[in-house]
Structures are given as C-alpha cells and as structure tokens.
Symmetry: C2
Subunit: 428 residues, 2 copies
C-alpha cells in the first residue's frame, strides 16, 4: 500500500481552477483532513493482479459480463480500454480525464469526485465463454483455453439461478468505500457498449473487525481462520502462513499468460439466518466444528490451535464431528487441497421463500448470506475437490443454499504498456 502519488479525484476539484471555482465556504472545502487509510492506494501494475493477495478491503462490487463482440479485435480493444481506466481509477483518478467540454457526456460519471482512492483494486477474469460459447469458437481462442478453466460440475444441493451465475468476463472491485467500488465497475461497464453486456452483479461487505483479526460472517462464527496467509506472523507459526504462492498463484504449469494469475470461484451462498438464529449454540458449534465465541476448534482452546481430528469423546465419537464444516474443509483430510477465501457478506433485502427444511415454513426471509470468493492455482485441486465432498456431507448445508456461481481465469498482472491478459492474444 502507498499514498496516492497522482493527481487525485479529490485534487481534481481543487486544481481544475478553470472549471471549478475555488470555494471559501467555511469548513466545506475539498481538502479537509481525512483518515489516512482511505488515501491509500494498492498497486495496479505488477506481476500479479491486485485484489487477490491484497489485504481484504471492506466492500465488494462484483460484476459478470457476457461478450457480444463479433471480432477478437473488439475484445482486445475492450481489454485495452479497461486497462487504462483501471490503472487510473485504482490511483484515485477519474476513469478518463474529464476535460472542460460540457457539451458532451463526461467520460466519468463523477460520483467519486471528492472520494479518496480507498485501496481500490480491480481484478479481471475470463470465463469459459470467452473461449467457447455454446460450442462456438467465437474468437479463435478455444485451443488456448487453460485445462484448469473447466466447466464447474453440478454439486449436490445447489440451486443456481441464471441471474447470479456464469459470465464470459468478471470484474471484482474491492475498496474501503462502497461508492468507490460501484463507481469503478460502472465506468468499466460503460466501456463495454457494443462488445459486452452486464450479466449479473453482487455487492458485499466486511465488518471492520480490525487488521489481522478473523472476521465473523453473518452466522456469527469466525470465517477464514485457516486461510493461507503470508502476511501474518503467528506464534506458534501456522501451517497456513507463507503458502500463498503454492496455493493461489499459477506457476510454470502455465499457460504463460496465466503465470502469476489465479482461478477464482464465486458462489452466492444464501444463509437461512432466521433458522440459524433459533438453533442452539452448541448445535451450531457441532455444525461448524468450532466454538462460536473463541473460534477455537472443538477440543481446543484458542482460535489458531491445530484441530485434533483424531480426538474422540468418552462415547468414542469424534470431538470434531464427521459432518462438521471444519473437518470437511480441512487441508489435512482433502489430500492437501487448499483455497484462499476472500469472501464478503451480502445483504440484498428480503424475498419470499418456501423453506426446504422442517417445518417447511413459507414467508419473507433475508436474501442474505455469503458471497464466497475463493482463489486457487487450479480449481480441480482446490474448490472442486473440497466441495465435491462437502456438498454431500456438510451439516452446514442444512442452513445454506448455493444460488449463484462462477469460475474465471484471472491472468497474471499487467505491466505498463500492456493490457489485461495480453499474452492470451499473442500466444502462438
């Protein structure tokens, strides 16, 4: 993270004297002191895209697009335009210089003028449909589809709806200000006119639990304790420290344009919060495999204790139940399969639901839960491997339903002068 060294959206208002007259309206100036954190930027150019290993920001706006481009050149032009706009916006600037000609639509909607960079990252991904759509090799890229970019298999219990599933392109915008995140996607969406259309979007948030503390999800449990993490220096050391390169980022297995990239699985997981809230705490703990308040694994004392999956109680039953979420997700019991979770809570109001569990109540319930975001080096050895079993056995499935899904190949980082995924279009 660094302080923004560029002319900023906020600076624009003070600097563009010809366009914006200086104000002397007392406290209401554009240069008042702000919390330092919102002035921070995350790097855009580099070996890796931002928004993957980046410490998680507080807000998400995720968008999936369908490609309508007729020619590969249109797709390349879009990615070039996205690269330019993304580099500017992550630096706290408008998507394009606004200029002084007010007789035309502005190239930026202006709703982030006066907002700080807020650590905005924009992470781009390519869905299967960029390579092959309904059996058609639209852009001559079918042969370059990475083997790891599979079609996600159907999973037990999922109830996917098209309005939250799939897409040929993905943009994950994360920032510490929700208006900054939405602004960024909106500007990128404007650049798609004629070459792509929005397919679905999702907002998400993360409570401010403080740096290096595990956030609680809407179920009230800590979520992410066993995440791979190269940024935390724990005593005693966790087996998940320092594992980002191994777990998350594509290496020599390639293809070249994916080196330093990652594969992202997103799942919109609706939680039956009303049902969960009426469930006994000790039952919740059996479902998760952890204590609710401390986050300790059952049988342990502290959050970061290594779970003892062999421990049994006086009746000979596992202390950490066979159907618990912790056990079914454990790297030790999944042949080493690991993922980097970078999820956000979502809260989209309420809608009518007919429950599929006793007592089969119908009524208005929260359309809320977890927008699960997981990065991995190869989804076949990551999410798919873990969730194949979890979807069948996890006691948590009584309280959750996967209603949206996507898998996208996120290319390696962008160097100045090139564009997102450029190597894909240059491969020979």
């Amino acid at each position: 993270m660094s302080r923004c060294p560029f002319a900023s959206r906020r600076g624009f208002l003070a600097a563009a004297g010809g366009l914006v007259a200086a104000t002397k309206a007392g406290a209401a100036t554009e240069t008042a002191a702000k919390p330092a954190e919102l002035s921070q930027t995350e790097p855009f150019w580099g070996e890796r895209q931002g928004g993957i290993a980046t410490p998680q920001q507080r807000h998400l706006y995720f968008a999936a697009f369908d490609l309508t481009a007729k020619q590969p050149a249109q797709l390349v032009a879009l990615l070039r335009a996205w690269t330019t706009a993304a580099a500017r916006m992550t630096a706290g600037q408008t998507a394009a210089p606004i200029g002084t000609d007010e007789t035309k639509p502005a190239p930026d909607s202006g709703d982030a003028l006066g907002l700080l960079p807020a650590r905005l990252t924009l992470t781009f991904g390519f869905g299967p449909g960029l390579f092959v759509k309904d059996g058609h090799d639209r852009y001559g890229l079918a042969a370059r589809r990475p083997p790891a970019l599979v079609d996600l298999p159907p999973f037990t219990g999922e109830q996917l709806v098209p309005s939250h599933t799939g897409g040929d392109l993905s943009v994950q915008a994360c920032a510490d200000d929700p208006q900054v995140a939405f602004h960024a996607v909106r500007q990128l969406a404007r650049l798609t006119y004629g070459s792509a259309t929005l397919r679905w979007t999702q907002t998400g948030f993360l409570g401010d639990f403080g740096a290096d503390r595990t956030p609680r999800n809407l179920m009230g449990f800590k979520d992410g304790t066993r995440n791979p993490n190269s940024n935390v220096d724990r005593t005693p050391p966790s087996p998940f420290d320092g594992s980002l390169q191994r777990v998350v980022f594509v290496g020599d297995e390639g293809p070249d344009w994916m080196r330093g990239g990652s594969y992202v699985v997103v799942r919109r997981i609706r939680m039956a919060l009303e049902h969960w809230d009426r469930t006994e705490v000790d039952f919740q703990e059996q479902v998760i495999g952890r204590r609710k308040y401390s986050g300790a694994p059952l049988g342990g004392t502290n959050e970061f204790d290594t779970p003892n999956f062999n421990a049994v109680d006086s009746d000979g039953n596992p202390v950490i139940p066979d159907t618990s979420h912790l056990r079914l997700g454990a790297v030790e019991l999944n042949g080493g399969a690991q993922i980097l979770r970078r999820s956000y809570a979502y809260n989209d109001g309420t809608n009518f639901i007919a429950e599929r569990w006793p007592p089969w109540r119908q009524g208005l319930e929260y359309d809320a839960g977890l927008f699960f975001v997981a990065y991995q080096r190869d989804p076949r050895q990551g999410f798919i491997k873990i969730f194949e079993r979890m979807s069948k056995l996890d006691a948590l499935n009584q309280f959750t339903t996967h209603v949206g899904s996507g898998l996208f190949a996120c290319p390696g980082g962008v160097q100045q002068g090139s564009f997102i995924g450029q190597g894909l279009f240059e491969a020979t």
Copy 2:
C-alpha cells in the same frame, strides 16, 4: 458523540473468561488499536431519537414491518423489548446478555461480536396501519392517529411496488459499519416473532466525502447543499443553518408523544444511470440547476451561493430553468416548505427493465439510485407540498422513478425507564 463507556461487544470477548479462553495468538487479539471513529457511540436516551439530527453515518439498513399482534399488549411488549435491545446495541453491546448456556439459542446472533459501536442509531416509526388497517381499529388507537400522519397521496409518475412500500412499523438503522446496522435490525426482527413480520428492507451507503462536505449521489452531483443544518457555521451564514427545530421536530402542535419527534418519508428512487451517463454535462446541469463539479447554482460561483431565481439570460430565459430540480425544490418558491434529507445511495444489483423513454431500450440495468429519507415536522407542509409540484414538472423525472414509499411518525426520544412511543399508549 461519545466514546462507549459500557462493556462492549469487543470487550465481551476479552472479559468473558469463563466462556472464552484468552488467546495468545500473536497479532490476532481482540484488543488491537482501532480507528477512533468506529468506537464512538450516539446517545440512545434523550429528548429526541437518534438518527435524525445525528451526523449521517455511512451505512443504512431500513426495515418496515407489518403488525400481526392481536392485542395492544403484544404491541407494547414488542416496543418494550425493542427499547431494551436498542439501548444495548447502540452502546455497542449485544442485544441481550449472551450468558453461558449454550444448550439454547443465543439471544444475539453474534455476528457483531468484535465490532465497535460504529455510531449506531436506531430510529423507530409508526405507520398509518398501526392506527387503522384496512378500516379496522385493531388496537384502539385510531382516534390517536396524528393528523400529520396522512396516507401519502398518489404522485405523478410513481410506480410503487408493494415489496418496497408501506409498513406499520419502521426501523432505520444507521452505522459506520454495514454489519453493525444489519446486525441490529436482525436482532430486532427476532423480537417480532408472533407480533410483527418483516415487510421490506433496504440497504444504503454514503461515500466518505469527509465531514461537513456535501456528498455526491450516484448522478455525480452534490446532494444536500441546501439541507437544514444546525451543525455547520458557514461564512457567509446560510439560511439553512439553525433551522432543524423549525423544520424537522414536532413542537407544541403535538400530540404529546410526538413532541421532539418527526415524520419520515422514505422513497426508493431508481435512477436510470446508464441513460444519465450518456447525457451531456451541460444538459445534466440544466436538469439539476447546478454546476456538476463545483455544485454552484447556475449563474453562481460557489456551492453555497444563494441561487438567483430571477436571473435571465440574454434571450430572456431563466438561468435556473423552470423545470430544474433546484428551482422546484427551493424553499423560497414552495411557501417555506422544507425537509431534512438524510438519504443514502442504494445498489441492489441489476435487473431487467423496459425503459419508458426513448429509445425504449430493453435490457439489464442497475437497480440502483437513491433511498431518499426526509424528516420533517409535518409532511403536509414538507415532502407532500414540495413533491406534488416536483413530480409533475421536474426535468429530473426523466431519469428517476419512485418505486417504493413509506411515511412513518417517529415519536420523540425515550427516557430511561420508558419505551419507544410510550405516551401514545398512555394518552387519555
């Protein structure tokens, strides 16, 4: 605002040693330093409810409920329970003490444990249906319905949908952390089992533009420049300074239980953002009546310049157009009608829309815009008076559609030992 003097949700985790074992897991403790602002609380007890004159927090979760209580006593019991829980949660505590019995459902869902108070306010309102529902005087309160709590009349152009309209009770939760706001409403909703049900909810956010600066809404224009405001000391003084008591809060006109209270109008206003973004900046400025970047009224220089509604250009046309939003909302031209706007942007993803304007395009568009929240002493002399004319004439109506609506009487503040709206049930 004050620092939280109570045992906090965060403190709970450190203090409840019997329940939660102390952790020595390096940086991942529950007591790490936090930004001071999230530790601030807003008072709950007092002459007025919080969340009205309170400096606007960054996040909103608004909920409307339908009453199902058969007896007034059930309604009173609900309001008592809400009062107790609200006082605790605004102080940064759980809705009720969690205790140590894990064989029962916990009285708090736990998803805010570890989060700071974040200036949470909870503002309660009574809709018309609390007094009369479908012609029935369910609770014997019909005669006590305040004359100002009218049924909102139909307005030109509105397209209200039931799933965002009406309600017998309202809760406006505002906080600087979205998880704190949602947590609070969720705990209150749990207390309604048997006496009320959720009718609709709405999330909102406000970009962090900095204290005493006018935020920009999603149209990129400053929104709230002419708001009544007793907190800003401007040079030169604005006619809107110091006007909160006159504009917002009910006085001797009563009824008693509404003294120090206010009436809130909420409107879910969808914005045609894609359409707006393709509109010339100077045309946008004619629609709003202000310059986009400086926020100055047309013909003026600075944001807080008094608009000159008499100025004409060389052709004799008004500099601030007759159909501009600024003119139609102006207190000078509405017989003194004023409201306190306390609105939030909303962003609920995308859905299919058939545009009602040229070129009558169909497609996926943002379900985003403004969750308009306006407080006033009497809606007949506030929102209704202003919007009657505005709904017919405002050029902005080309780009906005009101799709949700509510009017609620928010009683005066609560004194310790009493409950929300207690005077209503004691009136003779």
